[in-house]
Symmetry: C2
Subunit: 442 residues, 2 copies
């Protein structure tokens, strides 16, 4: 009747696939009667059970129907032709260019990560928590980690953050999306210009409107912000990326006065406050007005990029709203990582790691400044891991990047971080020395 190619271990499944192919291709036509189980089994040299299982599968999927005491018939399917089309081939993803020295990426060198400590704590969590690790994590994160983060914020930033109002997320980007869902897409989000492009692109991806607002030597221009129609301002007041501007207290108070006036919020993105190489980290804006400031930070930068671990501190009223929206949602960070990080924070390992990193970067910074000396004018506000180098004699930003490229150096200019045109940003390279190693500088 029709030829069937039966090979492999799972005979019934292959038979099913073959019969399905015959039906879909139209070789077995609508209404046509299938051979009896017994005769097909004999024809193919398989057991009756094999045929039975295959028919059962076709039946339950609706390819055939059974008529009592008369056998199995092909179902009335849509006219063929539209199925079985070959999908077009996708080329392999091209790998990114490898640079000798990358001054764009913001990841710490892998050898600086305290891997042995982390692995030891992971093993500890496995034996300590056991099957508790399988439990569903509340939407805002594990309460133990929330308390650890609150304690850490108090120790390191002098912040008084109620553990209950902390939300653990899978990195800062993920939390930007949560903020959009929380505040609503009708709000306009002001972002810094120049700024970290990922912020505005994440807002766009989440369907929120954003407006670029100029950044000067004192951070975001609050007067321009007031005219922008925004209700939320996403800023990095302690060390703006990429300009490095530090927002002075007067400007911070103006920003909060603005939030009061529009009944809006300030998102304080504290992405690199741990890396203030001299003195204590600057006081957070959250400390000034916890009811107007959403404080957000990430461990992905200080630990490892593969660890998506961020957190935010919400104003109490906003946390209430958060619970209403997300209470039935799962937290996206595995409990395992949350428990490990809690142990890392509580045991002081994280702060030891940061202090080791800071020592390391102080050394890198000295060598970097020495290497740049006389070649450019460096603006360095002492925070974070990037500086601005002005090359007054360069012809253009493109020339700076081309020269770097020829030397195997990946670099971006201030103008690459512009969201809308701005004066006085030319001939300035943004040097992110996060990933620099001593070997490269020697």
């Amino acid at each position: 009747m029709f030829s069937i190619n039966l090979k492999g271990k799972n005979k019934y499944y292959n038979l099913y696939l073959n019969l399905r192919g015959e039906i879909l291709s139209g070789r077995l036509k609508t209404g046509e009667k299938l051979p009896s189980k017994r005769s097909l089994a004999a024809d193919l040299g398989v057991s009756v059970v094999t045929v039975e299982l295959a028919y059962e599968q076709l039946l339950v999927e609706g390819y055939i129907r059974s008529k009592q005491r008369s056998g199995y018939f092909v179902e009335d399917l849509i006219e063929g032709g539209s199925v079985g089309r070959e999908p077009p081939q996708t080329p392999e993803i091209s790998t990114a260019k490898k640079y000798r020295c990358d001054l764009v990426k913001g990841n710490i060198p892998p050898h600086m990560f305290p891997f042995n400590t982390w692995a030891r704590l992971m093993r500890l969590v496995l034996s300590d928590c056991g099957e508790h690790l399988l439990e569903r994590v509340p939407c805002s994160g594990d309460s133990e980690l929330k308390r650890s983060v609150s304690d850490y914020l108090y120790r390191s930033r002098g912040m008084d953050a109620d553990p209950r109002h902390i939300v653990i997320g899978a990195g800062a980007e993920h939390l930007y999306g949560v903020i959009v869902q929380l505040l609503g897409r009708d709000k306009v989000f002001a972002v810094e210009n120049p700024g970290y492009v990922k912020i505005s692109s994440t807002y766009a991806l989440n369907g929120a409107k954003f407006v670029p607002v100029s950044v000067g030597a004192q951070g975001i221009d609050v007067a321009e912000l007031s005219r922008s129609g925004a209700a939320v301002a996403h800023v990095s007041p302690s060390h703006q990326f990429p300009t490095g501007a530090i927002m002075p207290a007067a400007e911070r108070l103006k920003l909060i006065a603005w939030a009061d006036a529009v009944d809006g919020y300030v998102i304080e993105d504290d992405y690199d406050s741990e890396f203030r190489l001299f003195g204590k980290p600057l006081q957070s804006m959250h400390g000034l007005r916890p009811d107007r400031v959403i404080y957000i930070n990430t461990f992905s930068k200080s630990l490892a990029p593969s660890m998506r671990l961020g957190y935010m501190v919400l104003p109490p009223a906003l946390y209430e709203k958060y619970l209403k929206i997300f209470s039935s949602s799962a937290n996206l960070v595995p409990l395992f990582e949350q428990k490990t990080l809690a142990k890392m924070l509580d045991g002081g390992y994280f702060e030891r790691h940061i202090s080791r990193l800071k020592n390391y970067y102080r050394g890198i910074r000295v060598k970097l400044l020495a290497a740049l000396s006389g070649k450019c004018e460096v603006t360095d506000t002492g925070g974070g891991l990037h500086i601005i180098a002005k090359f007054p004699n360069a012809l253009s930003d493109d020339e700076i990047k081309e020269k770097a490229e020829r030397a195997g150096v990946n670099i971006k200019c201030l103008s690459d971080y512009l969201l809308s045109p701005l004066e006085g940003v030319e001939k300035r390279a943004v040097i992110n020395y996060c990933g620099l190693t001593e070997e490269i500088l020697n």
Copy 2:
């Protein structure tokens, strides 16, 4: 001059906090000169360095300014009063009611999770991969896990999914959001009615428009879908939640013809196909037309709710678009969990786990059906872990739920899953026996 309360280990920081408080409260006024470092140090009985550090911190934060050779002065801040307000207190989160028996939640009993295997594989990953675990994971996930998932789909579902087109995400909900970002918020998403409410609420949260389309005995009503204006249909054709409907082949082909006609997509949500208790899982729609079907599934259901691990198989053209949008984004699932799951799949542990679970649930099902026998009419299509029990003599859905509540049983009715009114759903309880244990049934 002014009283300062200096206690605790970190004197400079406390001094800074005190001075900042004086400035913000207005006790130290704009333009007022601060005492010289030396005199303040003598007054307070601290070292000059302590005062220096505190002044430095106030300076860099813009609370004071320095005039050459004349000392430090309080900066011109905004008029006080708006700072230091006490945030309102949030009450503790109320804990959810505990039931003797929960027939709503879809989590497997914790004792069924192969914790020892999982812990052993985690330790193996730690020692095998070492510091490679810190590397950034490409947006679509670890390529080893993508290959493992592809192999698993071939073995268990007969699916031919190119590993390259697989996207690993932090659970199904997270991937629904990615799909919205991928297809755009201008598209209308059709969702099943009745249906899993989390799906429509996640679309809403992500700013996408959705329209409920009726589900009958043969799954989603394709004629109604055609009139709905939707361009994407989110369906669970192998075992609809909550009706249990299985979409027959003819309806599946109609659905694909619809997607062709509107140049849209079918999202095949295969959330519980592993738990088809009799026979092989039904053939996926993806197998029919990989260019029109987005296949999505989760491991959170079959492993543990704390593990946010889902995946989707994208049509090749859509995967190209995905790469364009997300190539610079990080994958949200820690590499550690991805590598562990890959080992679990490749070693056959996952399939052994599923087969053990299925045996377990077959036993549960028999006892459950016996317990229900004579009390209601059960609709059971043999798939998944929930059945529909019709109580023709019940007065109303509320009565069914109240009776259950009094017996310590959490239950929902079919009508609880309605997104818009539908005929013929009354007096039907949805019994999810995923979390049932033998002890409860005995």
